[in-house]
């Protein structure tokens, strides 16, 4: 049975784990190709207008798997919580329902459920046919394998990428599905690497920064991704980065709050910040101009003020 995995949203964190899970269960995982114009067009046409671009792109991948790859079922990550007391955004909670509206009638879904109320890692087959192929013991073994793969992937993400030269050091804050999707991010990481910049990503933020209380906030941030971005920004500031780039999807609710908090903190530290917003109308020329101008700004500032 061929089960399609959309290469979108938290695939960029957990994708390898999902693949190995499906393999261990005896399915053939089919991962959609990296985002391109095709998936964006399919997604924008299928999804509601108000939703953020990453979710639209996810829908594009789902349609690609169903219509082009003609898979037998689609794997849908229903991720409400991936850690204690913190949440992924509401759009992830409603993902299966949105996918159902997009899928061809009758195509089954295999839900990967991350929810503290049940288990942080569990699987739910909406369709009886898939469920029959998945005895509990098999799932248990496949899950433990997936967990191991996930932790390896995490180590990989947390390791410093990019050059270790003495040049510019730039911290990037972004959700993984914006940052690691080369099409959505307009290859931001590649452009920075080409400019010989040492890049810090949110995944490189040490755990103690994620656990620490955020000074000046009287409540903890309960969004997993937003919290990581906030912690990363504070960590970058302490590391004395030359600048920070915030890549955000237009219309992202949590980001509109966290982005402002981050901007204020970085201003207190005197660290230049470039905000880049992504939507389906984002032009590459404007993106490149801003990025280039920002790198100039940071370089000139460094060479004149030390």
């Amino acid at each position: 049975m061929r089960i399609g995995i959309p290469r979108a949203l938290l695939y960029h964190w957990y994708g390898k784990a999902w693949e190995s899970f499906l393999l261990a269960c005896g399915f053939t995982p089919v991962v959609s190709p990296p985002t391109g114009r095709r998936q964006v067009e399919l997604g924008v046409r299928a999804a509601q207008d108000e939703i953020c671009l990453p979710v639209k792109v996810f829908m594009g991948h789902v349609r690609y798997l169903a219509e082009v790859e003609k898979v037998d079922a689609v794997f849908v990550p229903h991720q409400i919580q991936v850690e204690k007391n913190r949440f992924i955004c509401p759009k992830f909670m409603g993902l299966p329902d949105m996918v159902r509206a997009v899928l061809p009638r009758g195509m089954p879904m295999l839900l990967w459920l991350n929810d503290r109320q049940r288990h942080l890692w569990s699987v739910q087959a909406v369709d009886g046919q898939i469920r029959r192929k998945l005895p509990k013991e098999k799932i248990r073994r496949a899950l433990s394998l997936a967990r191991q793969v996930a932790s390896e992937r995490w180590t990989e993400l947390a390791q410093a990428a990019g050059s270790q030269n003495q040049g510019l050091q730039i911290g990037v804050i972004a959700h993984p599905y914006c940052l690691y999707d080369g099409h959505l991010s307009m290859d931001l990481l590649g452009r920075l690497r080409a400019a010989d910049v040492q890049v810090l990503t949110p995944e490189m933020t040490p755990d103690r920064w994620l656990q620490a209380k955020i000074p000046g906030l009287n409540k903890p941030l309960f969004w997993t991704l937003g919290r990581r971005i906030m912690a990363a920004a504070l960590y970058y500031a302490e590391q004395g980065v030359d600048g920070v780039i915030h890549l955000a999807a237009f219309g992202c609710g949590p980001e509109s709050v966290v982005g402002e908090l981050v901007a204020r903190r970085l201003q207190e530290h005197g660290i230049p910040l470039l905000g880049l917003n992504l939507d389906e109308h984002t032009g590459e020329a404007g993106f490149a101009t801003r990025l280039e101008a920002f790198l100039d700004l940071v370089t000139r500032r460094k060479s004149c003020c030390g």
Partner: protein, 325 residues
């Protein structure tokens, strides 16, 4: 030692500007022509004009503006820079203590914050072109006025009307409405200037600390009405540089000088003879992958010398250094 000559070109959506600086960074010549949708032709015309002004050997050439990639490949540039850096460098060259730069061009507007001579923050208008030169052009056309006259007309206003500057479509219908209500033309034009300035400061200046001295440059700085509106809203004097319309080109020339002084090498400029050579572009939709990038090839006298527009770099060959970005 030979006298140094630095060329700067700013290929914008509305105008193409070319400047000649001497070794000390003083402006010797400037040419300002309308791009009219033909960046290559307009640069050729500018070069042709310079040829007749007996310029000596060129030490280096820098290019900026939205057409920088195309023109850099065509004329051979020593440096290709974005407009933001170019404007910041030019303003700081003439006004070393400038802290806020407002630049309004044909299709985009920028706000650059400077401290101690270096840029510390900037903002550029995103998808909306309300308040830029093209919009003023369009409104002047509708009012059957030369765009150059809008500014002096605004100064005659006694009671500027309120106009919604948030969007050019709304601004236009507001202006028509005010005309139908019987408001005088100067009051409407002055209202338009104020609306555009508020829109600029709200959109780009949000949350930023705008400190004097203020420098206002770009083609729209010719409009005295907009300058007055800035002064009124900011409550401070706004300086318009003598060469406000070509500051981007000046910045490109200064940056080329900086670059060439750092890495001494012969200039890549193909010479003024380019004005008479055949420069031509061809495009295709690449079908290697589903992205279907629109790829452009540049030909000089029938020979392909550069290609771009592809995300993967397949068509760029040896000309990678000319990529925007």
């Amino acid at each position: 030692m030979n006298k140094q000559i630095w060329l700067g070109v700013d290929v914008g959506s509305v105008s193409t500007n070319l400047v000649v600086l001497d070794g000390a960074g003083q402006l010797m010549q400037k040419i300002y022509i309308r791009t009219n949708g033909d960046p290559i032709g307009s640069v050729q015309r500018a070069l042709d004009e310079l040829r007749h002004r007996e310029i000596e050997t060129v030490s280096g050439l820098g290019i900026t503006g939205s057409g920088r990639q195309l023109i850099a490949a065509a004329v051979g540039a020593d440096l290709v820079k974005n407009e933001i850096t170019a404007h910041a460098v030019a303003a700081a060259h003439f006004y070393p203590d400038v802290q806020t730069i407002m630049e309004i061009g044909g299709q985009d507007s920028k706000l650059i914050l400077m401290r101690q001579g270096v840029a510390v923050d900037f903002a550029m208008n995103t998808v909306c072109a309300a308040g830029t030169g093209s919009f003023l052009d369009q409104q002047a056309g509708r009012l059957k006025l030369p765009v150059e006259r809008l500014g002096e007309l605004a100064l005659q206003a006694t009671n500027p009307v309120r106009i919604a500057g948030r969007c050019s479509v709304f601004a236009e219908s507001d202006m028509i409405h005010k005309q139908q209500m019987g408001h005088s033309l100067p009051d409407i034009v002055a209202g338009l200037c104020l609306a555009l300035v508020r829109n600029f400061l709200n959109n780009l200046g949000k949350g930023k600390e705008l400190l004097p001295p203020f420098v206002f440059q770009g083609g729209v700085a010719a409009n005295i009405g907009i300058r007055r509106a800035f002064e009124e809203v900011l409550g401070a004097e706004v300086i318009v540089p003598e060469h406000y319309g070509v500051m981007g080109a000046v910045g490109a020339a200064l940056l080329a000088r900086e670059e060439m002084q750092r890495n001494s090498r012969p200039t890549a400029f193909r010479g003024f003879g380019l004005a008479n050579r055949e420069i031509h572009c061809e495009s295709l939709e690449c079908t290697y992958c589903p992205n279907h990038c629109e790829v452009v090839f540049l030909q000089l006298d029938g020979q392909t010398i550069a290609g771009w527009g592809d995300r993967c770099g397949r068509w760029q060959g040896a000309k990678k250094d000319l990529r925007v970005g």
